[in-house]
């Protein structure tokens, strides 16, 4: 598993929230709780080949990942969002799978962070 610090930038995320670590912890907890829903929504959209829904879900996940300064994940979400916006379904499944995996990696990292008391 990637180290917490390599995957995303906790310090930067907290700084963006004005140094409010308690707020960061709340947001992180919420994201962990909601992540399954985001992944399910992405997978449902690509299964249905619903490009509008896929674009919307990718857009939502993009901002979530950006909140934690998870840049690699954000870029993946951006690529998927743009692909869905173009209406071109080629590559959508593979990109969705990558994005879902990225979300799960972040969730695991945040959960580890929480368990280790890094918050």
């Amino acid at each position: 598993m990637l180290s917490v610090n390599a995957l995303y930038h906790r310090a930067e995320a907290i700084e963006r929230l004005g140094g409010d670590e308690a707020l960061y912890v709340s947001v992180a907890s919420l994201f962990i709780e909601s992540s399954a829903g985001y992944c399910a929504a992405l997978e449902a959209a690509v299964r249905a080949a619903d490009m509008a829904a896929l674009r919307r879900e990718a857009h939502t996940v993009k901002s979530m990942l950006a909140t934690f300064s998870y840049e690699a994940g954000r870029l993946l979400a951006l690529r998927l969002e743009e692909l869905a916006a173009s209406g071109n379904f080629d590559g959508a499944q593979a990109l969705t799978d990558e994005l879902v995996a990225a979300v799960k990696r972040l969730v695991a990292a945040l959960a580890t962070e929480g368990a280790s008391g890094a918050t």
């Binding site: 995320a13 963006r16 929230l17 004005g18 409010d20 707020l23 709340s26 947001v27 919420l30 994201f31 909601s34 829904a53 674009r55 919307r56 857009h59 939502t60 993009k62 901002s63 979530m64 950006a66 909140t67 300064s69 951006l78």
Partner: protein
Amino acid sequence: MNRIAIIDDSEINLTLFRVLVSKLGSCEPLVFQESPKGLEWCSENLPDLIVVDYMMPEMDGLRFISLLRAIPGREEVPILMITANDDKDIRYEALEIGATDFLTKPVDRIEFSARVRNMLALGASRKKLADKASWLAEEVAKATAAIHAREQELLFRMSRAAEFRDPETGAHIQRMAHYSCLIAGRLGLSPEDQQLVLQAAPMHDVGKIGIPDFILLKPSNLTPEESAVMMTHATIGFELLKGSESTILQAGASIAISHHEKYDGSGYPYGTAGEAIPLFGRIVAVADVFDALTSERPYKRPWPVDRAAAYLRDTAGHFDPSCVEAFLASWGEVLDVYAQFQDAEIPLL
């Protein structure tokens, strides 16, 4: 307390913004995860600021802004739209349809706080300006009303001055003006024209100022020569009142010159007939004669009102029949006016 409506389909964002707004102080966050519900609330309640996400199911941020701006009273509410850094075209479109400013994701607390505070200050200034404009409009209306009241008082006192040497009284002016207004109303004239005849009718005999006392106050019948002089009060009144920019004085001039014309053309000063006589002149002719008949004079007792009404009805040729009909159709109100304005100290119109 500033009410800030936050519309975003992401629970995480709503939580984030709710906390950030609460930390601003004097701000109450109202959160809506479904944009239609957010729109409904904003249409029924006036928020001080709206924070709205762009990408939402059912109704996106652009559609929300478009619909909100179409609601009366919501044209000026500050709207902060949340977009990603790469949504430049979306930002342009949002500006076109009414977004006030933008927040980019990921949300930065300092930037959020600064933008929200600035927009609340802008909204407060705008409201203060609108309130001031509204207050000013009220003050102007009051001042205008005061000017109108003074104008009316001046005209009334001028009319009283003309009648002062005459045996007729101030109550006569009031009665015949109100009779004239009743006729105008019954004829279907606009409220503005009814008010105009009410205000202008008192000036009908202002030209009597130019009639010598020995003729004006002669207790017995006038000689033909004296009658001819007396008749000039119509044109004298017209000369006194004509040429003004005031619609009341213009109406007064028309009434002064025409209220002694007769429907069959046998009146004075010009022998004008029928509907060539200005309508206000035809109206005042009925009102003035009725009041003259039912008033006491040094040379006669007042007629009973029913006898005076019969005279109007039966005197073919003198009056415009439609004006007589309108007057008699207002009989109840005529009697009220007759009772209200008796020959004692009376208030101005």
